[in-house]
Amino acid sequence: MASTTTTTAPEHEPRRRWNPAQILIWTAVAVIGAVAWGVIAISRGEEISAAWLVFAALASYAIGYRFYARFIARKVLGVDDTRATPAERLNNATDFQPTDRRVLFGHHFAAIAGAGPLVGPVLAAQMGYLPGTIWIIVGVVFAGAVQDMVVLFFSTRRDGRSLGQMAREEIGPVGGAAALIAVLAIMIILLAVLALVVVGALKGSPWGSFSIGMTIPIALFMGFYLRYLRPGRIIETSIIGIALLLASIVGGSWVADSALAGMFTLTGNEVVLALVVYGFVASVLPVWMLLAPRDYLSTFMKVGVIMMLAVSILIAMPGMKTEALTEFAFNGKGPVFAGALFPFVFIQIACGALSGFHALVSSGTTPKLIEKESQVRVIGYGGMLTESFVAIMALAAACIIDPGMYYAMNMPSSELGDTLQSASQAVAGVGFHITPEQLAAAARSVDEHTLVGRSGGAPTLALGLSDVFSQVMGGDAMRAFWYHFAVMFEALFILTTVDAGTRVGRFMLQDTVGNVWKRFGDVTWKPGIWISSAAIVGGWGYFLWAGVNDPLGGINQLFPLFGIANQLLAAVALAVGTTILIKNGKAKYAWVTIVPLVWDAVVTLTASWQKVFSPDPKLGFFAQRAAYQAAIDAGQTSKGSASSVEEMRQVITNSTVDGVLSVLFAVLIIIVLVDAIRVWIKALRSTEPLPDTEVPHTPSQLFAPSGLIPTAEERRERAGAGAGT
């Protein structure tokens, strides 16, 4: 596909006039967007269709991509297609390799999108659909997609340097070290939070545990098949794998009704143990056995399910049962997570609006494969828009569930109690209504023992998906199948992230320790692999275990920390972007990254402040610690949802650890910001440009279109240059 012809793209394109058809199309897009936003914003008290969210999102993305992303690419970054990219200059057919933009878009999207955009919006739905929708759409257009695109561009100009390297070289050793610590800390919290989501979905569910457990032998079989029988036949192997996966979902229904059910009915702690053992083994085994085949399966399922969901929502057009804004948005007393709309909606929803983690994919991996600088717009900005769309659909799926059901699933188990009656009362206590009979019927409809207390977001989303899918395919008879299909789909790629993430963490640890102890840095030295894998698994395993046993509900406590950590990484990425813009003499355009950076810093620091200093024990970690300590000192044997002294001690330990982490994250953000501002001032004062690590211009010999679909001009140019089709 890489045709080698000289490009003749002019430096300054003549300003093209708009033709009537274009004007008509963009006016129509603007009108559809305005109407959809109007319906979402104005309707109060009546049920609106989830399709309006989809329309508002798509129209806003189209306008953001067409106008804002184009402005950033041309004016702010100054993409230059006469420059050869690292893929062209350093092509070695392995890590550097010019890759067709449509293929690379798929790669990049598969690397950035995981369970994050599916979980955050579901939890944020406790504040109603409006705050989440606005933040996901506005956030992605002005912050998230901008970050991904800017980092991708600057890393491409620097031979695919990683975010950590760029932070060190452009800001300084302090900023670089802060970035490194941030990455490792996020990795651990991220893995714990994601694993916690899986625990919520699998505990006490023989159907779920059986079908997820079966993914391991299926992946092993695929691994051996690809290694010894049919090397390179990835699609064929994946199709066999998916057929086996569907069979194991159907088989799970049978297992749940058979004598084997007891064997697959696991408690929360048993699921934790299974995950920790799995994480360790998967990180130590060679990739061809488990990780690579699992990756193929999750990519297929990810893309397939997301397309199915978009189509189903448009066909079924389900109505949203949640209010636009609930009272929890203002009083901060929400049972799913504590804290008011500002700043916590912006913390709960990281992936899908602004996710710092993407900067790790946008630097390092994708820049070594990109063919043309102008393609950063479709791959960086466009890829993130696609992830945002996934988040909007997850939000819609959570909002079509009856709110009473939503709270019965997502409140801390200790508040819900052990019976359907107590759960119904607990839900009534927060102002919603659901009868024990309705709870029993909902569980029966998806063939589960109970849905009460299945927190973590995944089961809620699965219930919403089963609702949408069964309206389009199969009706009520298929509801249980779709529920378990959705649980399987989420658990599958969470487990893929768990094993890949443990591996990434292990490499980072080996690399860091390798600076001091050379032997440890050798990634083929077995004891080094075992020790570092155990350290990483131990890290997330601790938080996972603490989360599962937290009397206050683990996900409610841990998810905000994950959000803060992720946004911290976004602050590093945006600070690096701003620094390079200012160094390149583009200070007048630096607002493009400064505005999201300031917003991100304000949100993260406010959230950290509240988590550390709030006197409300539900919100502030240290206030919580003090309240429980005081209760123990006063000789009480139970407090709130902790029913024994031991549980109270556990709350104290957890809130101390979480509080210390909040302080650490806030300090890191401040260090990075102060260090970056120091460099900005130096660059602005200096009469000569500061040293820059940009690779000098090398003329490109490669031709490739900028967008997914070549323009008429690009077709003519290619034909004129004598290349094939």
Partner: protein, 75 residues
């Protein structure tokens, strides 16, 4: 340049077929199935004097690279 495309229903059919074909190639590319073909292409262009790796050996090394470099991905 490609030959002048035919017109009418035949043209629509052949356009559809070529669109499906390129869609299939993109899907193969996204999952990484085209790696060996691209390796051969690169090898022919840059090291024509040396014998390229066989298919089985190539895939073995291709996958085993992941043991030394985990890449990065998000949540």
């Amino acid at each position: 340049m490609s030959p002048r495309p035919p017109t009418g229903a035949g043209a629509a059919w052949s356009r559809l077929r070529s669109a499906l074909r390129s869609g299939w190639q993109i899907a193969r590319g996204v999952v990484g199935e085209t790696a060996y073909e691209r390796y051969l292409e690169h090898h022919r262009a840059h090291h024509p004097d040396r014998e390229p790796l066989g298919e089985r050996e190539f895939w073995r090394r291709h996958v085993d690279r992941g043991d030394r470099d985990p890449g990065s991905r998000c949540c």
